[in-house]
């Protein structure tokens, strides 16, 4: 679990290198799918294009290396094996974006929005970004924030509602979700935006519930 110092390494003093913003912009474009239909070299800025295709079999219109007409565990195994490249490519790129400071840039951009959007202080920015990547890291940092009294019990509960629905969004969406990207009729950024918007909406339902139904003195107990 991260210590108090680590949790506090969030404030406006955090230096974001300019590459951070470039990397973040790149990641947004790359995973957005806006260049997916592109015929020119610009298509290299699309995740699905770079992820490529497996070779096909006899009836190339339908069959991939998994063949046709499979079922059960064996079919599931081959199908899942086909998901690993997307998973490795996506997390490799996220790691590079993080290394260049892209996640720091996202954190910096999100921090001033936390109070108006969720009613929680900007200091929770790092925990929020971490929770998008790892459920365990986000929850651990949230606990540390509460134990250091940097957030109140109410703020912690609202924040937990945000994290609980679609936990580790980025990691899960890009690893497991990638299995379904090829079937989508919308760009892959759209479901992700819907998820993010509803996470915020859900946290505000919790905020409303705590404000209207739970009495203040009740929240301090336990």
């Amino acid at each position: 679990m991260p210590g108090k110092d680590e949790v506090q390494d969030v404030g406006a003093s955090t230096k974001v290198p300019v590459w951070g913003y470039v990397a973040l912009l790149f990641a947004l474009v790359f995973f957005s799918g806006i260049f997916s239909g592109e015929k020119s070299w610009l298509s290299v800025f699309d995740f699905n294009i770079v992820n490529g295709n497996f070779g096909t079999m006899k009836d190339p219109a339908k069959a991939t290396f998994t063949g046709m007409g499979g079922a059960g565990a064996r079919d599931g195994y081959l199908f899942a094996l086909g998901l690993i490249p997307a998973c490795m490519l996506a997390l490799g790129i996220v790691e590079v974006v993080d290394h260049l400071g892209g996640l720091k840039a996202a954190q910096r951009l999100l921090t001033p929005l936390l109070r108006p959007l969720l009613g929680i202080p900007g200091i929770a920015g790092l925990a929020m970004i971490s929770s998008m990547q790892s459920t365990d890291a986000g929850a651990g940092m949230t606990r540390a924030l509460r134990e250091s009294e940097l957030i109140t019990e109410k703020e912690k509960t609202i924040f937990a509602a945000f994290q609980f629905s679609a936990g580790a969004t980025i990691t899960n969406y890009l690893s497991s979700g990638a299995a379904l990207f090829a079937f989508l009729t919308a760009p892959i950024i759209i479901p992700l935006c819907v998820i993010f918007a509803l996470k915020i909406f859900g946290a505000n339902l919790m905020r409303l519930y705590l404000n209207k139904i739970v009495r203040k003195e009740d929240l301090r107990s336990e």
């Binding site: 079922a71 059960g72 565990a73 079919d75 599931g76 195994y77 199908f79 899942a80 094996l81 998901l83 690993i84 998973c87 490795m88 997390l91 490799g92 790129i93 790691e95 590079v96 993080d98 290394h99 260049l100 459920t135 365990d136 929850a139 651990g140 606990r143 509460r146 912690k156 509960t157 924040f159 937990a160 509602a161 994290q163 609980f164 629905s165 679609a166 936990g167 969004t169 899960n172 969406y173 690893s175 497991s176 979700g177 299995a179 379904l180 079937f183 989508l184 009729t185 919308a186 479901p191 819907v194 998820i195 509803l198 996470k199 909406f201 859900g202 339902l205 919790m206 519930y209 336990e222």
Partner: protein
């Protein structure tokens, strides 16, 4: 920023992807395909599909899609696997998958995350039911919204 070269950083991330793939994606998807196979052979899939047709129709989905939601609740990888399996068998179309995708995550893995998220963060247990309900509401709204984009 450390001095690691970008290819090294990429490989490190790709290795994380491999580990998630091997330890989570493959077992979860395999389980989902196996479960669907059992449900298909026993006729339970058709039965559930018939029962839930009216409810799922609200979201523009066939009855069988309920299996995706139930298995998502247990594990996101499982939900994705069930969706893929039903797609491969022709039970779900591209539009259906598009409608379902956000819901798989919004109400996903709640049983696991009860411990890993709520437990770790030390959320008071009396709020758990509300938190579960909010996630399910999120998933329902997600499906309605995706109908507009699908």
């Amino acid at each position: 920023m450390s001095n690691k070269s970008l290819p090294d950083v990429f490989v490190e991330g790709a290795r994380k992807g491999w580990n998630i793939g091997v330890s989570s994606v493959i077992p979860n998807v395999l389980m989902a395909f196996a479960i669907i196979q059992v449900f298909r052979i026993t006729g339970l899939l058709t039965l559930l599909g018939t029962i839930f047709t009216p409810v799922m129709l609200l979201f523009g989905l066939p009855g069988e899609a309920i299996m995706v939601l139930i298995s998502s609740w247990l594990s996101m990888g499982g939900g994705v696997g069930v969706a893929a399996s039903l797609y491969n068998a022709g039970n779900l179309s591209n539009v259906h998958i598009t409608i379902l995708l956000p819901a798989i995550f919004l109400m996903g893995a709640q049983i696991q995350y009860m411990g890993r998220c709520l437990g770790t963060a030390g959320v008071q247990t009396r709020f758990y039911p509300v938190l579960f309900l909010i996630s399910i509401i999120n998933a329902a709204i997600g499906m309605f919204l995706m109908r507009l984009f699908a």
